[in-house]
Amino acid sequence: MLAGSANRRSVLRALAAGGLGAVAAPAILSRPVRAAGRPIKLGFVSPETGPIAAFGEADAFVLAGLKDVLAAGVTIDGVQHPVTIIRKDSQSNPNRAAEVTAELINSDKVDIVLGSSTSDTTVPVADQCELNGVPCICTDTPWQAWFFGRKGDPKKGFEWTSHFFWGVEAITAVFTNLWLSLDTNKRVGALWSNDPDGAALSDAQHGFPPAVKARGFDLVDLGFYPIMSDDFSAQINAFKQAKVDIVTGVFVPPAFATFWTQAAQQGFHPKIATPAKALLFPSAVEALGDRGVGLSTEVWWSPHHPFKSGLTGQTAQQFCDAYTKSTGRQWTQPIGFKHAIVEVAMDALRRTRKIDDPASIQAAIRETDYSSIVGPINLKKGPVPGVATTPLVGGQWKRGSKFKYELNIVNDQTAAFIPLDSKFEPIAS
């Protein structure tokens, strides 16, 4: 009896389903043949609040610009998958970065994690992904800090995590090229922030000291200062006594502002000042006022870089103009890389064979040979497995026409395909 009733029901259900199917069939046939697959999820970890929030400031703009591209998604094996991005704020805190990455992996079940901006974000993000076997792409951290900071083996590399950015070898080459292009006494004074970036750049084997000496400079290395230092008078005194013409090192913007003001108070006027990290953002230069004019810095990317986005077709210049139009703000260097990291992920997804197999996505990432808005990214060549380098050139802040102060590219010996904006000049004293 029971069995009979079950049979009757299933027959009815089958009939109903068949009937509906027959009615719906023409509608299906009139649509494009592509079936809609499950959405692909990208996790996007970046510092949007906290001390390094300036790096994540353009995230909303960058992702909004990619809305249509992401909605159209990628077609894998004849099935169209829309792509969604889940943004997480690292709060400029490495512990928080690890926590939100774990959330992305365990709760949101993302397919790829994208981590960007300083080793405090990219190192914990990559570590979580490596641990959980989730494909991960990082950028906006000198590659040695990301690779050796995680105890990477240059022969094997990492299984699940990849990275693209410039490295210590590039910044030492750019800085020394800048300094050699002017007439100085070749004495360099250096001060390093007591953090991973300062440690990487001051490394006695791979950092500045050997590179600077190899090119004939005399290095007055005063060692590490505490990041939030309010007083540099002792160091300025030492530089003055050693008669250095060139000042370099790693500084966060407030520390450099204090250093530079005190240098003026103490009557210390070097011909060249090239602090790494301190002058990336226009706001840091505006905070120095006219004493910021003539300072030199590393340039990872600019509107004048001759590259364009593979996703939107925008050139670097168009992309920066759109940013200024939408936010009323001057372009900054990280915005190109925030766009590029999504480009690399989308390119890898297009070449992925089995979307539900993380190993297949990872294989596609490692095959990356792509032309992005920040230049060519080739993850097959190395310096070490899973790391690609992007070009770095030398820049100098000068008075501008469109904005109060503008970053000019003044040395491209490391990447001659990037056009020069003007000539490198000593600081006017």
């Binding site: 200062y225 939030m228 230092s229 309010d230 003026a264 108070q265 706001s283 505006e286």
Partner: protein, 288 residues
């Protein structure tokens, strides 16, 4: 001569720390309230100064005329409306509430002003210096900060020891219950104390904004030195706070001259040594 220069620079650095510390010293001394949001309130004052300077186009130092009363009012309302409710037997509730305040201020400023690093400009005064005999260059602006710190402390000292309000503050600080029995309105007194503390914080904020860069996240790092200066100087003693700040500044300066990475360490070690030798600080005035 080089060491003399180190000590002079360290003393001037102490002036900056003293200016940061006085507000904390007041609230701590009178109400035993440890204000974790103190550093962020300094940054809030700096941002108010920024808005005032941009809106009115006045000299940054003239913005004090608006920033200080604004912070005074904020202090009164904050204490009356929020912090008075947290005072009691345990010191934990005010700690937690001011910690929350710190997080709220930081993120509110980030929302309103973005993450940009800012500064107020005063032209040549920023970089002018006096050259003392022996070739020691002393920045005019650090000197001004030191003078302002001394003036603020002298004014507060007058207020505390020469006025009725000062007597009421001291009475409440020594024994809140008895003072209340004698007719003192503690809630009002506490609110006034916080108002004065934040007025001083307003002064600190404006001078910080001219001396160096500031951004919404920079506040908490200002708290620790202020706190150390208060403890070294001793509870309730304003001149002690200045002395503590100068000791801290000179210790950091000497450490830094030996090796740059010893700067903060030298200050912290000095702090710990004083804490071990004189747990109540050098010039304690009030009873615990």
């Amino acid at each position: 001569m080089e060491w003399l220069s180190v000590i002079v620079q360290g003393t001037l650095l102490g002036g900056l720390y003293a200016l940061f510390a006085v507000g904390l010293s007041l609230t701590f001394g009178i109400m035993r309230l440890v204000n974790i949001g103190h550093g962020d309130l300094i940054i809030l004052a700096a941002f108010i100064a920024l808005v005032v300077v941009q809106a009115l186009g006045i000299h940054p130092l003239a913005s004090l005329a608006i920033v200080v009363p604004a912070m005074f009012a904020l202090g009164y309302l904050l204490q009356r409306g929020v912090l008075n409710r947290t005072l009691g037997e345990s010191i934990l509730p005010p700690l937690l509430v001011t910690f929350g305040l710190s997080v709220i201020i930081e993120n509110l400023l980030l929302q309103l002003f973005g993450a940009d690093t800012r500064r107020l400009h005063v032209g040549a005064l920023e970089t002018d210096s006096l050259v003392l005999p022996g070739g020691i260059a002393v920045g005019l602006f650090p000197l001004l900060i030191f003078a302002v710190a001394v003036a603020v402390i002298a004014a507060l000292q007058l207020l505390f020891y020469r006025t009725d309000l000062g007597r009421a503050f001291r009475a409440t600080s020594d024994d809140a219950v008895t003072a209340e029995l004698m007719g003192a309105d503690n809630r009002h007194l506490y609110a006034l104390a916080m108002a004065i503390a934040l007025a001083v914080t307003g002064v600190a904020g404006v001078f910080l904004a001219i001396r160096s860069n500031f951004d919404p996240a920079i506040g908490p790092s200002r708290l620790i030195f202020a706190f150390e200066a208060v403890i070294i100087g001793g509870l309730g003693s304003l001149w002690g706070t200045l002395a503590g700040a100068v000791i801290l500044g000179v210790a950091q300066s000497i450490g830094s001259a030996l090796r740059p990475e010893w700067q903060i360490l030298a200050g912290d070690i000095t702090f710990l040594v004083i804490l071990v030798l004189r747990p109540n600080g050098l010039f304690q005035r009030t009873r615990d």
